[in-house]
Symmetry: C2
Subunit: 245 residues, 2 copies
């Protein structure tokens, strides 16, 4: 692909190609993703864009999953954290940050899906967590509740964004008909076998994603205060994590 004998050396005025470095790979992924969607950014496609073979990428990133995590953290730089230090009620400012986080993820639901499996924990993620914890602290929430609530809030926002991953290349043609199908099922359910579903009917499906999201944050924040405290908090809880015992 390089160096045709007859070609002049400045072959094309393409947008400046980043050097083959970790940063360049991440930047190119972001560009390609914005232009064509996450699902078009494959290792091979990325390599082509960088005028090399796919193997070369593995010098700088461990895997596709690791690249996704790095890209997500990059995007998280776009989350508006200014409400953390602004005036006003803490609850309101918390909501504004969480909404900003969610709207960033909404642009790339596939990335949200990755984030669910492999939490990023990069630079920007850490700043986001710090801002959220500061607000929960300001709200007077017990530290242990805040620690667990943090995960609940971020997981809820991330999962909500991930739900919108339909990998559609251009539009979302099945999303609408999916929802129509759901509405039909809910409407046509027998009141004899499913009385509670029938009674609620399409109220089960009511509300915009935004309303659902806002209510979810309300529920989590109110619930963290009113639910019994996290009851299994050993003094050194690091090693109590799950399946090994």
């Amino acid at each position: 692909m390089t160096a045709h004998p007859t070609a002049p050396r400045s072959r094309r005025e393409r947008p400046a190609k980043p050097a083959l470095t970790r940063e360049g790979i991440i930047a190119t992924t972001v560009d390609l993703m914005r232009a064509e969607g996450l699902e078009r950014v494959t290792m091979r496609r990325l390599a082509k864009e960088l005028d090399t073979g796919p193997a070369s990428l593995y010098v700088y990133v461990r895997s596709m999953a690791e690249l996704h995590a790095a890209v997500l953290d990059e995007l998280l730089g776009g989350v508006d954290l200014t409400p953390a230090a602004a005036d006003g009620e803490w609850r309101d400012r918390l909501g504004r940050i969480l909404t900003s986080y969610t709207s960033v993820l909404f642009e790339y639901p596939g990335l949200a899906q990755s984030a669910l499996v492999a939490r990023p924990f990069g630079k920007h993620y850490l700043k986001l967590v710090e801002a959220l914890l500061a607000l929960l602290d300001e709200g007077g929430l017990e530290p242990d509740r805040a620690a667990w609530l943090l995960d609940l809030l971020l997981q809820f926002a991330t999962a909500t964004a991930a739900e919108h991953a339909h990998r559609a290349p251009g539009d979302a043609p099945q999303s609408e008909s999916d929802w129509q199908a759901l509405a039909t099922v809910v409407r046509d359910v027998s009141p004899r076998t499913h009385p509670h579903i029938a009674a609620l009917g399409t109220r089960l499906l009511s509300g915009s994603p935004q309303d659902r999201l806002a209510w979810g944050f309300d529920v989590l924040i109110a619930g963290a205060r009113h639910a019994p405290p996290p009851d299994v908090l050993a003094p050194s809880p690091v090693h109590t994590r799950g399946t090994e015992g």
Copy 2:
């Protein structure tokens, strides 16, 4: 899986191969998944197992995603719904059903990941929803709150299960080291730049998945009662759904 009693010319004593029908395809997917994991069940692999070509499957299933949804609903038949009609406190019985749902999904986190994007809404899913709504009704929760809480509970359980999708063929080798890396990051964070993270330290990571899950259910149920009501509930809310307006 039933033995064909006639068996005219038994060509090979293989485990009984289901006929090429929708049910047979789903059953074979479940078998293959249990034996080798979801990630090994590809359309090609499935076709091979059924002694045909991959194209033939598309006569019975629309796509891989649709097949996943069908298989998940099949698995949801294994959720224990008996607590719905049992004695005892509604809250406790609700928790038991939700835990059963989650543990079914925990066995196949990849399926949970699919479920997040494409809700199944098959026969068994509908029965699960009915059981949960019955208990929320028994608990005296307002219908509108119950409708929205239902989604929150199922989404939380599903997302929690999906988090454990690491597609590991045999073991989970990176999961443990991932967590170690996380612990290191949290421990090594600067108290100057990230005071709240530093103050909480590994308490951020405390608790087993089970404890987190149980607390999450507590938070959602308590929160649904204490949060302000869903405020955007038009009388006929079906058409108020989001992006079109």
